[in-house]
Amino acid sequence: MKKPSVIGLLASREAFYYLLLALLLAVVFPLVFDAFRLNLVGKYLTYAFVAIGLVLCWGYGGILSLGQGVFFGLGGYCMAMFLKLESSSPEATSNQSTPGIPDFMDWNQVTELPWFWQPFHSFSFTVIAVLAVPAILAFVIGVAMFKRRVGGVYFAIITQAIAAIVTILIIGQQGFTGGANGITDLRTLMGWDIRSNEAKLVLYYLCVALLFVCLLFARRILGSKLGRILVAMRDKEDRVRFSGYDVASFKVFVFCIAAMFAGIGGALFTLQVGFMSPSFVGIVPSIEMVIFCAVGGRLSLLGAVYGALLVNAAKTSFSESFPELWLYAMGALFIGVVLAFPNGLAGLYRRYLMPWERHLRRRPAQRSGVEGEQVVKEETA
């Protein structure tokens, strides 16, 4: 056993993949795409945040949440509230019956900024809220469910119901939330016009940078003992419990992390797209987010990023050229990824490309810690 050399090799190999992605996102895409396409890529990347979170909580933790859209939306709404308040200064809204509040509130005869909007005047509060609000909701749901050992299918259905509740609430409380239209017409971030091409480029790079922060953080989690405990939990939950671990708190933890990632994605989405609406919160977008992760490979962090990029790119190009076929393609993708290649792109890569690559390098097979030979197995539940 020559441990150090093995680890060194793994590190370099994995580093290579990360570097490749960084190169692709930070150099190749900006060179190849025009501002319009690059902005699209930026939007897709915000979904990659959700997908990475899902790798943690679904792929490794075995917790399938069909409510990630809620967290994405919460992060997005927090950011949107800040931007909206900025664009609703008393001067800019002087023609309203109550100047200084967002336009949709004025239309709904709200005459005073609601208390929960007040703190969003502060940017630092907003940044904290983008992380904290999804995390707190995830914590409450997680504690309630996991401490009572609700898991698997039941958890999925309940999170789905929560997505439905939150959507109806946002739409129904339009005086406070902007209703079905969402919070729109966001123009500046602390005086900086976020709609200009330069701003979009900066936001794109911000998005890429934060994506790597999240990727490395997730990698750190999975590389630690916590990652192995997650795998162990998915396999034999009871055994973990009888090894002295409070299983629920681990589940709550990854669920919260996944929620925070989704929240960051949502906030970046708002910044790049310029508005937030309940149509990203509901059941359908939430399930689509799961498929991004599944296509990439539910056990691969990098796969999740590629999955989010590819599915969204396919969606855009399909709906541009064959709108009728899009739903068929998406449906086939769901079925195919489950039936034919449950490990997604990452699995295909490992099965078909790695041996070939190995052959080229004439190196024996190596086990890599994080992006290891994990495969989707039958659930015991």
Partner: protein, 419 residues
């Protein structure tokens, strides 16, 4: 060709009414072949997609997703108008080429696609959007890149963008005349307001409530159900208890079907008019899904019905059916969408240029005597002066027009109390 002549010469006497403002446009229209085509550099100083022979415009609606049902009619109408304009020689001697994009019932997609149309395709005008949410999503894009959007849906108002021409009615136009009519003609004293839960029904009901209460009449109930809701028994029970004279219903989409079927099943026969039902959301398009038998007897207040009896409309309905099939029905929004390309053409020709700023400046005052609904004129606030009509739903899915305002209703997107 036949269509063109019918449309164009249908109302010769109106041309006098059209006045001086429309004259240049009319001249440009009637002499497309004789007039020397203005040079491209003259009519396009801002780099729009205009060549010596063509001009590109965008059509931006949902082809897929939940909204595709509603937006199909608008797409068909816009295409028909473009084809007719091309058959007449186009705009400033240039054929219109349209680029159609799918908003996919997804608001960011609308924003994306509008950016594509304006930035990549340099579309001279965009005809599109249906829901308020999609319009709100594209609005900043149109303002940023200075595009021109022709928006066809009747909507809640509270908006007036220099980059949008609203060819449908805003809420007050639709609502006030309808309520005045039921009060005057049917002696209505109490109203039950009901709607799907989103911005248009809520805002519209607020306007309605204000108007009703100003008249000293009573609103006995007001409530909203989530989009797609299919169980209306409880609210129907409440209606039975409160016994309003008028059910004022702004239910949309699939919920409509459930609502009218359950209303009928619960023994509220709309033809008896006890209570009477007045809606602003059920066009002929919706009746297809609900079934004519279920809405028979309801009243709708909007600016256009397919059964409207005038020569413009006869020609329009005929052309529409020839182009898109005999079974097709045409609702209010479809007609409004049809106006878009025509209003744009008139404005371009009045301005003598495709430049957005010149088209915008030329727009107020543009009138269309050939409109299927009769006559419309663009107001300073970018909405249309138009008449409001009351239709009485018949079993065959058509409305019979029972009333029409004498004067054009002035668009007032920011009614008192909403500013």
């Amino acid at each position: 060709m036949k269509t063109r002549t019918t449309l164009f010469f249908s109302r010769p006497r109106r041309r006098l009414l059209a006045g001086l403002i429309a004259l240049p446009a009319v001249l440009a229209l009637s002499t497309p072949l004789m007039a020397a085509k203005p040079a491209t550099s003259e009519v396009n100083s801002t780099g729009l997609a205009v060549t010596d022979d063509t001009v590109k415009v965008g059509i931006l609606h949902s082809i897929t997703g939940t909204m595709a049902i509603s937006e199909t009619g608008s797409v068909q109408a816009e295409k028909l108008a473009i084809e007719q304009i091309n058959a007449q020689g186009g705009v400033l001697g240039r054929k219109i080429e349209f680029i159609q994009e799918d908003g996919a019932s997804d608001w960011p997609t609308f924003a994306e696609k509008s950016r594509k149309l304006l930035v990549n395709d340099k579309a001279a005008a965009v005809f599109g959007c249906w829901t308020s949410a999609s319009r709100k999503a594209v609005l900043p894009v149109f303002e940023q890149y200075n595009g021109m959007l022709y928006y066809p849906t009747f909507y809640e108002g509270l908006e007036q963008s220099p980059n949008v021409i609203y060819t449908g009615q805003e809420a007050t136009q639709q609502i006030l005349a309808g309520i005045d009519w039921v009060v005057r003609e049917k002696g209505a004293k109490s109203f039950y307001l009901l709607g799907s839960d989103y911005i248009w029904p809520r805002t519209s009901n607020k306007i309605a409530r204000k108007h009703i209460e100003k008249k000293g009449l009573k609103v006995v109930g007001e409530e909203y159900y989530p989009l797609g809701h299919t169980q209306f028994n409880s609210v129907i029970n409440k209606i039975k208890l409160k016994k309003p004279d008028v059910i004022y219903a702004i239910v949309v989409g699939g919920s409509n079907v459930a609502f009218y079927k359950q209303l009928k099943a619960a023994g509220i026969d709309l033809t008896e008019e006890k209570p009477l039902l007045l809606t602003i959301s059920v066009t002929e398009d919706e009746i297809l899904g609900i079934g004519g038998g279920n809405v028979q007897g309801a009243y709708a207040s909007m600016k256009y019905f397919q059964s409207l009896d005038n020569a413009n409309n006869d020609a329009f309905v005929k052309a529409f059916k020839e182009r898109w099939g005999d079974d097709i029905v045409i609702g209010d929004v479809t007609q409004a969408a049809y106006l878009g390309p025509w209003l744009w053409k008139a404005a371009v020709e009045k301005a003598g240029s495709f430049d957005i700023d010149k088209v915008r400046a030329a727009s107020p005052g543009i009138e269309l005597t050939t409109a299927p609904e009769g006559y419309v004129r663009i107001h300073e606030n970018h909405h249309l002066w138009s008449k409001t009509r009351i239709g009485h739903a018949k079993a065959n899915g058509q409305y019979e027009v029972v009333y029409e305002t004498k004067e054009l209703m002035e668009p007032n997107p920011f009614p008192e109390g909403y500013k």
